[in-house]
């Protein structure tokens, strides 16, 4: 697979990778703190669990938003080229996957924030 194609695949999967990172960070930190009885621990006055959820959500959301913007740019460039069918398809799918990943990351962050961490 050429370097350009690898980049396209990575861009296509960027949102899903960001979601996986958010999922792993939130559940890893939350279950570790709950397991050790530190669910209410604070750092600089902020609860570690909610701070982790909010920061993981914001960072992965921002990263996915960047991926969406790149996907749109890439799609516009591909649209100008007459015979780039595969490239056009991949950039189109990248927009959809990354766009939906934005929604999923937000839903996941909201759920983790609303529900009790150690229930």
């Amino acid at each position: 697979m050429s370097g350009r194609r690898t980049g396209q695949v990575l861009l296509m999967l960027a949102g899903l990778i960001a979601w996986a990172v958010q999922f792993t960070v939130i559940y890893g930190v939350t279950s570790t703190l709950c397991g050790r009885g530190w669910a209410d621990a604070t750092l600089f006055g902020f609860g570690i669990v909610p701070a982790t959820i909010v920061s993981a959500t914001l960072i992965t959301f921002a990263a996915t938003a960047v991926a969406v913007i790149w996907s749109i740019k890439s799609h516009r460039q591909n649209a100008k080229r007459p015979a780039a069918t595969t490239d056009g398809f991949m950039s189109h799918v990248a927009i959809l996957i990354n766009g939906l990943s934005l929604v999923v990351i937000l839903w996941h962050g909201i759920s983790a924030l609303i529900l009790p961490a150690c229930a």
Binding site: V103, L106, W107, I110, S111, I114, L115, P116
Partner: protein
């Protein structure tokens, strides 16, 4: 009759409105989609063309579901978060599911002594209730639809359910997990009383049974003793101390017998004693059909007098 559509507590009310929102919303969406489907089939091609446009698919197929689900998700999660929350000062009650009845225990609370009853849970209005449930034989499920969700009763495990009755009344609870032949006949009453009335009830329930003064009832008590009823049933204040069946110390004060099967009176008590296996086949209590009519009246009268 139990009904989740007549909420009498905060949790049940939240679940009710979530259900209503989703049901009404689901119906409206279903009708809209069906109408569009019919329109797509029967409308002239030039009029239905917009249905296949990119904009329709993006707004109707992507944006609308995302917005709708984005609103429903936090709503549902907040309902879940705010339901079944343990509260300080809650009244502890223990309920044990058994084939096919409910053992109900009120643990000692301050200077109030512990006691047991059956098939009836009395609660004070406005005070949080913390119910601990388990099962003695098979898996049951404890559900009072008017007060909230259900919870499994699993042998060897204690689960907890919290609710608060917001208005006085008589509500019905049921077993919500198939537990055997008579599963459908395993109900109980939840009676929500004003706090003062609840305290009076609790004080009365903690007292031992009164000795009968009428000769017929004294004969009933003697039949109860001689018949070995006390090896399965307890009547506090007498030598009957069985733990296998329901505590009968104040059985006469209960609304129903047979776990919600009949109103509690001398006639139904007599019928129950004489023919349990006809009324509720499979219950652990055998039928005492060999009792004479007079003995049956005396025995049922004695039980009915235990108030």
């Amino acid at each position: 009759m139990q009904s989740a559509l007549d909420p009498a507590g905060g949790d049940a009310s939240r679940i009710y409105w979530l259900t209503m929102t989703m049901t009404v919303g689901g119906i409206l969406i279903f009708l809209s989609v069906t109408s569009l489907l019919l329109y797509a089939i029967f409308a002239p091609p030039e009029r239905r063309a917009w249905l296949g446009s990119r904009r329709t698919i993006i707004y109707g197929g992507l944006a609308f579901p995302i917005i709708t689900l984005s609103a429903l998700l936090p709503y549902g999660l907040i309902v879940m978060r705010d339901s079944d929350v343990p509260k300080a000062g809650a009244l502890p009650i223990e309920v044990i599911g058994e084939q096919y009845w409910w053992r109900v225990r009120y643990p000692a609370d301050g200077d109030r002594v512990a006691f047991s009853t059956a098939n009836e849970i009395i609660v004070p209005v406005g005070r949080p209730i913390a119910v601990s449930v388990t099962a003695a034989d098979v898996i049951h499920s404890f559900w009072i639809p008017n007060f909230g969700g259900k919870i499994d009763m699993i042998p060897g495990r204690i689960n907890r359910l919290n609710f608060t009755a917001e208005r006085p009344g008589i509500y019905r609870g049921v077993c919500a997990e198939f537990c055997g032949d008579q599963h459908a006949r395993m109900a109980f009453d939840v009676i929500a009383l004003e706090p003062a009335a609840f305290e009076t009830w609790r004080t009365e329930q903690a007292k031992p049974a009164q000795d009968p003064e009428v000769p017929l009832l004294a004969r009933g008590r003697e039949l109860f003793r001689a018949g070995g009823c006390g090896s399965c049933h307890a009547v506090r204040g007498t030598e009957a101390n069985g733990q296998f069946g329901p505590d009968l110390t104040h059985v006469g004060s209960r609304r129903t017998i047979g776990a919600g099967q009949f109103p509690n009176n001398i006639g139904t008590l007599a019928g129950w004693i004489a023919n349990t296996q006809h009324i509720k086949p499979g219950v652990r209590m055998p039928s005492y059909g060999s009792l004479t009519g007079e003995d049956l009246r005396a025995l049922a009268g004695y039980l009915e007098s235990l108030r």
